[in-house]
Symmetry: C2
Amino acid sequence: MQDIDKVLDFIIEIEKLKNVQRKTRPVGLDRFENSAEHSWHVCLAALMLKDSANEVIDINRVIRMLLIHDLGEIDAGDTIIYQSETPELKAKEYAGLKRLFDMLPNNQGTEFLELWLEFEAGMTPDAKYAKAIDRLPPLLHNLHGAGHSWKQHQISKEMVFKVNSRIAQGSEPLWHNLEDKLNQAASDGLMA
Amino acid sequence: MQDIDKVLDFIIEIEKLKNVQRKTRPVGLDRFENSAEHSWHVCLAALMLKDSANEVIDINRVIRMLLIHDLGEIDAGDTIIYQSETPELKAKEYAGLKRLFDMLPNNQGTEFLELWLEFEAGMTPDAKYAKAIDRLPPLLHNLHGAGHSWKQHQISKEMVFKVNSRIAQGSEPLWHNLEDKLNQAASDGLMA
C-alpha cells in the first residue's frame, strides 16, 4: 500500500511534463507542443516505423526509452536541438531524472536511469533508432508549418542537415525520405 | 520509400489527438488535459504499477494498447467515463480508428485494430489492467484538484464508486488504495 502511494506520487509529479513547452507547433495547431504529448507521438512513430531501423532493435525497449526520454526536462526545461548540448545541461537533466526516479519504491527507477543514459549516449541500435525518431516530429512540424521554428530560431539549411543527418544512423530509409523533403523545403525558402 | 510516406502521413494525422480535450485538468495546471498527453501518462503509469496487476500481464502489449486506445477520439471526440457508452459512439470510434490505421501500408494496422477491440472488450488480463490504469489519472486530477470535474459534471459518490470499482478487476491493490482516498474525498465534499 505504501509502495503504491509512492508510485502515485511519481505519477502526479511527472504530470509537470505536460507543462514543458517545446519549440515547434503540431501540424494544424496554433500553440506550441508540450513534451508529454511529444513523448506519446514519438512512441507511436517508433512503433509504426520500426521496420525501417538499420539494425535489429527491441522495439519494446525503444518505446520505454521514448516514454521517459524527456522527463529530465521537468527540472531542466526543453532545449532546441540546434543548441549545443553542454555537459552542464545534461547533468541538470540527469539530476532531474534521478530526483523523479528516486520517488519510486524498491529501486524500481534504476533501470530507467540506465535506459536514459543509454539513450543519451546514442551508441546502441535501440538508442540510435530512438534518437532518429525523436528528431522526426519537429521536422514534420516545420515542413508542414511553413518552417516556423527554423525561421524563428534562424536555422539554416546547413544546420538542418548537419543536425538531422544523424537520423541515418538509426534509419537510412527514413533519412533518405526526409532528405528530399528538406531539400525541397530549402528551395521553397522555409529555412533561414 | 512510398511506404514511409504513408507512415509519415499517419504520424501527421494522429497529431490531431493533441487537440482532443478531456474533462479534467492535470494536477497544477489551469487548462484541460488533451488525449495525447493522457495517453503518454497512462503508459508510464501502467509501467510503474505493473507489479500490482491481479493477473500475469504482458506489459509491452498493455503499453501498445494504451498508446492507441484513444485514437478513435480524433473522429469521435472524448466522452466522460460517467456517460453511458452507446453502441453508436463505440461504432464511431471504431470507424475513426479504422480510417487512421487504413492509412498504413501492408495491413500494418490490422493488429492494432484487434488490440483496440481487445481493450474495449476488457476481458483479457492485459485489457483489464489497461482499463484500470486508464481510469487512474482522472481520479488523481479530481483528488488533487478539489473535485473540479466531479462537481462540474455532478458526479455523486455512488457514481464515482460504481464506475471506478472496476479498477479492482485489473488491480485490487490499486483499487483498495484509491478507495480510502475516495472515501476521504467524499467526506471532504469533493463530489456532487
